[in-house]
Symmetry: C2
């Protein structure tokens, strides 16, 4: 019997049908203490979940479900370094990357500390403009070459925290194999003062390797010698030999370890570009924010455990209320990449269809995560949130004050906050057809008020959370990202899946090599004849590719 | 009886249950002509929909559904300028914006042509560096201030088509009310050589107006006089008086018309920033591409009508196979904003819950649209596409050759194409547990092959389309965007909803004003006392905002 079929799961199914007819707005009016009762705070982050369709019974039942899943023991096992990634026989110890003490992992922690020290040296050399390129001029621009976890986390954190108009070195990112990506990044740059960081554990990730080769050609075409390359390339990799063959000496390589998954790696040397963009002290604050959340998660009992509560809200909305997607709406322009980062974190971790024993699960796992920064989404997809037919649970992410206290002289940030709270309230209370009709009549539209009103009616009762914090700082961002990491882990425990592997991406890579080989090989005599072992549709598209490039 | 409950709809329900057990891969192997039979081409765009879970019977039934919906008459009514936006008593004539002839709309078309001519003049003056700012230096940077339709379309088209390192004037975009957005755009710019285009039909859109006010202060702080403002501001608006009060004379204002919805407005003067970025000839090519698709859509019979077929695939996947989301994956870095644009187009148009008569629909309307550029998504959420539990239909968007024929000297673009085709094939064929076990044994992993294999298994059979075209040009992009516009319209016809209004966003704006007033008013004596008429949760968050900004 699976956890979700247990007595606790069945109790929750009963709760769900009881609550389906209820109104969140009514629950809120009936109990003035609800916002306090349905909230939780940790590491400076405050979660208001009073606008979810649940009550104290539901919450108790959800906590029982977590107990039944042996959640506290599973959390302990995670921190203890057990092989929670059982299919790859590895622990998942990204928490160690931001720890200030070794706990039980002295050997690993020593490597972390040594690597931090090496990162700090690179950061300080580059930020003080002491590192020079092949003409002797100081490095002015740093380009991070990486994809997935070697891109999304560093890009998010540096965009969120770096100044709008930074002193050199400026930090840039290129990820896509499409040559347009790197081309658009380097077009305005000077090769003599540009440094690349190649982030690839294997040093063989297709996109990263081929972008690195293009970068090397760009430098060489500008006059860099083989020997000069060492001044223009750093790498974060486990594969020193491949890096050296490329032209990056071991001294320029920072390590990665197999107990750090790609999507949990921004805290490692993969974060070097971020540390260059925001400075070493700020990077350490990012780590400390995450560490504060780690300790909260490890040491706090379930009913006040923020990552666990957010996971239980996910399970409640998805498994019991039937949501198939999850929107994350940061009301902060600097956090506009957060949905991209969370897509990898949640969908790569929990987009699985077999449980830890390899049996097909009989329920849905990770929902589709999507979103965009408020207020821009209000002028785009919010129409569907308010009047669409699909249940779309939302996390509003809200820094309450501007990052710099002086930054709101004209009150635009206050308006941003007002918009966030208004969307939350509109999703809760909605507008009845009668209220819509009244409003039309007040506007003097008696003639069409009656027939038009249903088009203006909004059902409300859309479950969502508001996650607010004082301001966006390295510390609050570190805590926020660690919060979502641990929430993702808790949901994997409830769903009984391995959050740390990603076997589903392997097949596409294998077929990619096969397709590429066919593309580069001789054309089939008859264009309608499937090329080698590929299917007819793929073969037909390869022929179209040949024709377009002929 | 609704259309979807008609005989045609019931036939499709039967088809769906018949096909649910079938394999797309088997359908492909059984019929070598399937890729040709299940494909359609228009305006240079080629749709391969052979990897959907359907057969010729399904397709015939879907076309019958369209006939039953009187689709051809509805398309004719759209082009004839009938009030298809019946709740706002307006036609939707965005096709006229890209037309080369007036058809039956002579008066409107004359205004379009006159506006095009004024746009062309602005574009040529700015691109030839003949327009100067308040110090007499030529304008080097243009910042578009707009949100929603006044931002997403122009941003997408200029990013997709402008050179990586353009000659001045360079074009930028700021949309969000968050002051960080405009601040980060203008930080590196020189006020003396920066021009702003204020895009707001009402000249009162909160975000756009407040960003325009901030831009005006920035210019004035740098020494621009009241009179100088006319050299630094253009507007696209219907509200000349408000623009003039702001400091933008009527000569600097380009018009918008009520028969153009915001999300269909990039073809109007709202596209001015795009035209500046890509040049007038290229902008005209964008219009011509869209016009080519318009004519195809208006004049082609259903079975070869590309927008209609794509709509029927949406209806098939969502209504009959139960998909609740739709992924769009452009394999082109330059199209990375396409999902953002399509979110507004599809979710604002069709995120509706009442039919044209105002009755609640008994079925789902628009799905959640999401996506990201390939190959970056492969290192993020593709895990869920391959092994997750939710049905996620995909549109792959694939330019077959690089935009500039010389641009693929190192074959990275070929690798991009190979990756796209490989993802399509992997989603189709999947990998059985037995095949996974074999592969593990071949890698010498006999010990764990058996228990590990289920984790590597991939079900395949995921429906998707491949929309390919020779290369990304103004013409192909124009056709692509018009294709999705008309697809959205066709789906609205099947769902019997109005695709052209957006009443659902009004409530949030109203509540926003109310919340903002409370925020600026005196604090409640007792922080736990709901402020004025707001609920306790909103009041508590307003108190948190006060505390954070104290």
């Amino acid at each position: 019997m699976t956890l979700l079929d247990s007595q606790e799961g069945r109790d929750l199914t009963v709760q769900a049908s009881r609550l389906q007819g209820q109104s969140i707005a009514a629950l809120l009016s009936a109990d003035a203490t609800r916002p306090q009762a349905f909230s939780c705070e940790a590491a400076g982050l405050h979660l208001d979940f009073s606008r979810h369709l649940l009550d104290t019974f539901t919450l108790e039942n959800l906590l029982s479900l977590a107990r039944r899943a042996d959640m506290q023991a599973r959390i302990a096992a995670l921190f203890a370094g057990r092989e929670v990634n059982h299919t790859e026989k590895r622990p998942a110890l990204h928490m160690l990357l931001r720890a200030s003490a070794a706990d039980n992992h002295a050997a690993r922690f020593a490597e972390v500390v040594a690597t931090r020290e090496r990162m700090r040296e690179h950061v300080e050399t580059l930020r003080s403009q002491r590192q020079t390129g092949f003409t002797g001029e100081p490095i002015s621009d740093v380009v991070n070459l990486g994809i997935g976890g070697s891109d999304l986390g560093p890009r998010l954190t540096s965009e969120a925290l770096a100044p709008a108009c930074p002193a050199p070195p400026r930090v840039h990112y290129a990820a896509n194999i499409d040559p347009e990506d790197l081309r658009s990044v380097i077009a305005p740059l000077n090769p003599a003062t540009t440094l690349f960081i190649v982030c690839s554990k294997s040093f063989s990730t297709e996109e990263t390797l081929h972008n690195a080769l293009a970068a090397r050609r760009w430098l060489q075409d500008a006059g860099a010698s083989e020997k000069d390359l060492a001044r223009h390339f750093l790498a974060v990799t486990s594969h020193l030999q491949a890096a050296e063959e490329f032209g990056i000496p071991p001294d320029n390589c920072l390590p990665l370890w197999d107990w750090v998954g790609g999507r949990y790696s921004l805290w490692s040397a993969i974060g070097l570009s971020t540390a260059i963009a925001i400075g070493w002290e700020a990077f350490c604050e990012l780590l400390r924010g995450a560490e504060t959340m780690d300790r909260h998660f490890r040491d706090t009992s379930p009913e006040s455990n923020l990552p666990l509560l957010m996971s239980l809200l996910e399970i409640w909305c998805c498994h019991f209320l039937g949501a198939t997607n999850h929107a994350v709406l940061p009301y902060a322009y600097r956090l506009r990449r957060l949905p991209d980062f969370l897509q990898q974190l949640t969908m790569e971790s929990n987009g699985k269809r077999v449980n830890r024993s390899g049996d097909t699960v009989g329920y849905h796992t990770a929902p589709v995560l999507w979103g965009a920064a408020g207020t821009t989404g209000q002028h785009s997809f919010h129409q569907l949130l308010h009047q669409g037919t699909h249940l779309c649970p939302v996390d509003f992410i809200l820094p309450l004050a501007p990052a710099d206290a002086d930054e709101d002289e004209d009150g635009r940030h206050g308006r941003l906050v007002a918009n966030c709270l208004a969307q939350s309230r509109a999703l809760t209370v909605g507008r009845s057809a009668a209220a819509a009709e009244d409003s039309l009549r007040q506007r003097g539209r008696d003639d069409d008020a009656e027939w038009l009103a249903p088009h203006l009616a909004i059902p409300g009762n859309r479950p969502h959370s508001v996650l607010s914090f004082e301001r966006l700082t390295p510390h609050s961002l570190g805590a926020l990202l660690a919060l979502y990491e641990h929430r993702t882990f808790c949901s994997s425990v409830i769903w009984d899946i391995n959050a740390f592997d990603q076997w589903g991406v392997e097949l596409g890579k294998n077929i990619g090599r096969q397709v590429h080989e066919v593309m580069l090989g001789p054309a089939a005599e008859d264009a309608n004849e499937p090329a080698s072992t590929l299917d007819a549709a793929t073969a037909a598209l390869i022929q179209r590719w040949r024709d377009a490039n002929a």
